[in-house]
Symmetry: C2
Subunit: 165 residues, 2 copies
DNA sequence: CCATAATCGGACAATAAATATCCGAAATAG
DNA sequence: CTATTTCGGATATTTATTGTCCGATTATGG
């Protein structure tokens, strides 16, 4: 069980976008440069966020990405499913139906007990992530950073931000 | 995020072993045959359970696997970590330290807020799986199966089981 | 209105991990 | 002691992730 690295990058990028005022955004290259990650691969993650409706895009000169809705309505679960897809982590292959004592399909109307247990665990995981929005993350980051650092970030954003609407 | 197929197989195998009386077990080939899964790969999963101390082994003629402790003391989390390893699913690569506004290491004494949120979700996932032992799984399976099927399983086990001590 | 420049979007390799398999080491039974 | 049968670790094949490139699209400026 391994969460893709793209999820981490997309989450950081989304938090950065949440620091911008409404209607302003950043281009993919700037988002990659901010964290010193490979540009094209960062762009790939942003495309996934775009397809999921988490960010809005503008093409052409002065193009870029901005959040599609308020930061409080974007959770870490939204970002993770946008990157990794929404299929469940545990896939039951119904091996209980195989072999010399295989259960018949009508005996399997109820979900396999093992699959049900993993499903319940995944629900707990999902609900935990759904409780955290970009607002909470941004507040945590701000609380842990010195004023000087936040001013640097603000100046950098002011220099790089573009209007998207 | 994908849970390995080996986890499913190992869990089913462990549940099957839990149906045997203390001191009796099954050889790897029988465990594979019961669910019609590839023998050598099933054996690989059993080796992982053995290294994790979940099952005891006996080699030579009349060898095989038996549970190393009572079924109530073996949780699905134990099985999953035995197969997949115990490293966390989300790995923080500290990209906040990179780039033009990178945070200095001493600003990073607290864990990154994003990593902390994923860590909390993983804790919820883990605690959910730790609450389910082989006893609960076996009880669920028994409740969902007709008597006739359970008799078939019992007869098959009686035929295949070996004494391991 | 048209050419231009700069952006996003989807298609294309390289790498790492999971899946499946084989052969040697070890231990018991006779 | 010998032979048989088993587990254990090392070895290929397939799949998913990571990383990269070039074409489609759009606002800009003349």
């Amino acid at each position: 069980m391994q969460i893709s690295k793209g999820v981490e990058w997309a989450a950081h990028a989304a938090v950065l976008l949440s620091a911008l005022p409404t209607g302003r955004g950043l281009k993919a290259e700037a988002l990659a440069r901010y964290h010193s990650v490979p540009g094209p691969y960062m762009a790939k993650q942003m495309q996934a966020l775009s397809k999921a409706g988490i960010v809005q895009t503008a093409r052409g000169k002065h193009g870029g990405y901005r959040l599609a809705r308020p930061a409080g309505e974007i959770t870490l679960w939204d970002i993770m499913t946008a990157i990794e897809g929404s299929k469940s982590a545990f896939t039951c292959t119904e091996i209980r139906q195989n072999g010399p004592c295989g259960a018949t399909p009508e005996q399997c109307r109820k979900k396999c007990a093992i699959a049900a247990a993993f499903h319940a665990a995944e629900v707990a995981f999902r609900e935990s992530l759904q409780a955290i929005s970009l607002v909470e993350i941004a507040a945590g980051v701000a609380a842990d950073s010195p004023r000087k650092h936040l001013r640097n970030v603000g100046a950098w954003l002011e220099k790089e931000a573009v209007a998207i609407g």
